[in-house]
């Protein structure tokens, strides 16, 4: 019999998130799985409601892209009591609940930050470098982790200094606005690199730099995370330097694990980690762009 799977998605706050939803639907179709998607509009309480109603509907499995890391114990217990396996997508939850879910298909966002930081340290070498940072939404775990990883990577290098850090709310418009203020506050030429917690903010920041008469990608290095199509366009134009991929295909592995578990009883490993791949101008950005542009970003 075909499986029915409930997917509690966070919302649609970015292009990446939209791509994840699209890919999930495609992957489900490929495997003949019926997927019910509940959009939580960024609210944990909505996700909890969604999971409860999935349980009430008696689905075969639940995918959860948790908006925050904590607070899932009681609702996941309800799912466990109803014998419905839960798979986490894209973000992990607090360790206390390890036995409450089947597996987690996620990237490691601290690792993403670290990859970005490492790229920067390698690229600048020993030269002094003032970095400005565009953070994600204050309080979002991804933002905290990407900062953590990046900070850890640059910490041993005294020549790299984080001079300004402000939130750009993961959006283009705020990314641009914040970058404008960085340029004015620090003086454009004094900035050596920009690190953005996602590509959207970086696209905005690149515009701000251009409007201020600076040359992003050349005078100012850029590194960001997500690998959405538009950043590859910028890379191809020489306006961006590096991005770390966060794949939108989390559901594929999740469906496979669920199928194997349901049909053969195979218990998957607790963590299925996706790759945090670094892309630079050397990776034929236009080709990547073309491969990604129809994924629903």
């Amino acid at each position: 019999a075909s499986l029915t799977v409930g997917f509690s998605q966070i919302g649609s706050e970015s292009g990446w998130r939209a791509a994840e939803t699209t890919v999930t639907k495609d992957e489900a179709k490929k495997r003949g799985i019926t997927v019910k998607i509940a959009d939580a509009q960024q609210k944990q309480e909505n996700q909890i409601k969604a999971i409860r109603s999935f349980v009430a509907q008696g689905v075969d499995g639940i995918l959860l892209a948790p908006v925050v890391a904590t607070g899932w114990d009681s609702v996941l217990k309800e799912a466990r009591d109803a014998k419905i396996p839960v798979i986490l997508l894209d973000r992990d939850i607090d360790p206390a609940g390890k036995d409450l879910y089947l597996t987690a298909v996620t990237s490691d966002s601290v690792e993403e930050g670290r990859v970005a930081g490492t790229w920067l340290t390698k690229t600048v070498g020993d030269k002094p470098c003032n970095v400005v940072e565009l953070q994600g939404t204050v309080g979002a775990s991804v933002a905290t982790n990407r900062k953590k990883g990046f900070d850890a990577a640059i910490a041993p290098h005294a020549n790299i200094k984080l001079v300004r850090s402000q939130t750009g709310d993961f959006t283009r418009a705020k990314g641009k606005e914040v970058m404008e203020s960085f340029i004015k506050a620090e003086g454009g030429r004094a900035i050596c690199a920009v690190y953005a917690h996602n590509d959207d903010m970086m696209v905005g920041a690149i515009q701000a730099m251009k409007e201020a008469g600076l040359k992003p990608g050349k005078e100012i290095l850029t590194v960001s995370i997500d690998a959405v199509p538009d950043i590859f366009k910028a890379m191809a134009a020489g306006e961006a330097n590096a991005t770390v991929e966060l794949t939108p295909d989390m559901a594929g592995p999740a469906f496979d694990a669920l199928k194997a578990y349901k049909e053969k009883g195979t218990v998957p490993p607790k963590w299925i980690q996706t790759e945090s791949k670094l892309y630079t101008a050397a990776d034929d950005p236009m080709k990547v762009y073309n491969s990604k542009k129809n994924l629903g970003y």
Partner: protein, 338 residues
């Protein structure tokens, strides 16, 4: 009669909507869905009771969502990091929230500042304070929390009446008594009729305004406690935008945003209608993010339009008593500013 009409209509609409859903999704007839509806609405319901007081008094409180957020973070840190026993932490946060609300009420009264803006500043402040405490979500592992999480009353048919749902029902009950059967409640309505006149009638406007906003914040903190019990964690980003949900619930329940009219029962129905819309959309499960929003908006519109329509119809046929139909539903004397 005619005052309770909007509530009656809301109740009928809710019943009709529920039946409609049941024909579509048979699971709606299980106690499980009923139990979930109550549990899921719990913390919004508690907030909405406070909002009802504020709105009937002619004010508005935009800070409640942030207060919920602050409460959850505070509790998590207090219990996990600072080693304060949970019950003591509850008491502290309730007290602090009441003071916070009282301060907003005092600003509104003493400086004659519009509630919308004072509480907007309160919203920024409480949310910001939450961020300052912690930008990360913090799990709570206190034994009380795990004990409470399992407390529930089993309903026949697999459903559960959880403690949180119980708390909400109790808050509605107490709120109803407070609003409809005490002097304080009468004063709330009076303030909504006209602050100026209420003052001329010799009622202490300032004291009551402060009490109303303190109550609203207090209930928001209680909702925060319930939220934290439910999720056993605290995050500064929790309950964003809840103030609007609460206001919508209150207004759908027939309370006038201009103040002076409405009631607790209506708010309960408003909360339930909101929950019903969401449950129905989740059960359907085929909607994309955007269609979810559009459908929510459309259903909201359908409920309100039907309600408005039937109230108007009933009002027209039943106008033996003689309200002078004016431009606006309430008679609000334009008051001379003192």
């Amino acid at each position: 009669m005619s005052r309770n009409l909007p509530v009656l209509v809301a109740a009928l609409l809710f019943a009709a909507g529920y039946c409609l859903c049941a024909t579509q999704f048979p699971a709606f007839l299980t106690t499980r869905v009923v139990g979930n509806l109550l549990t899921d609405s719990a913390f919004l319901g508690i907030v909405a009771v406070g909002t009802t007081f504020v709105i009937i008094s002619g004010g508005i409180d935009l800070s409640v969502g942030s207060v919920v957020g602050f409460t959850t973070v505070f509790l998590a840190l207090a219990i996990e990091r600072w080693g304060i026993p949970p019950l003591a932490a509850f008491a502290i946060v309730l007290g602090a929230a009441a003071l916070f609300g009282a301060a907003m009420g005092a600003l509104i009264h003493v400086f004659e500042m519009p509630p919308f803006i004072v509480t907007l500043a309160g919203m920024f402040l409480a949310r910001g304070a939450g961020f300052l405490l912690s930008t990360e979500s913090v799990p709570i592992n206190a034994p009380l929390y795990s004990a409470v999480a399992d407390l529930s009353l089993s309903l026949p048919g697999g459903g559960r009446l959880t403690l949180t749902a119980g708390v909400m029902l109790a808050v509605f009950l107490v709120g109803g008594v407070l609003l409809h059967a005490t002097r304080f409640g009468a004063t709330v309505y009076a303030l909504g009729g006209s602050r100026h006149t209420t003052a001329l009638m010799g009622v202490r406007v300032g004291r009551n305004t402060i009490a109303i906003y303190a109550l609203s914040s207090l209930l928001a903190a209680l909702a925060g406690i319930v939220f934290s019990l439910d999720t056993a964690s605290g995050t500064p980003l929790s309950a964003v935008g809840v103030e609007l949900d609460a206001i919508a619930a209150v207004v759908i329940g027939g309370t006038l945003l201009t103040g002076g009219q409405g009631g607790i029962l209506g708010t309960f129905l408003g909360v339930m209608i909101g929950g019903l819309i969401q449950t129905a959309i989740t059960f359907d499960g085929t909607l994309s993010s955007w269609w979810t929003k559009i459908a929510t908006g459309l259903l909201l519109f359908a409920f309100i339009a039907l309600q408005q329509g039937s109230v108007a119809l009933a009002g027209r046929s039943g106008r033996a008593a003689r309200p002078r139909a004016g431009q606006q539903p309430v008679v609000r004397p334009a008051e001379a500013r003192p």
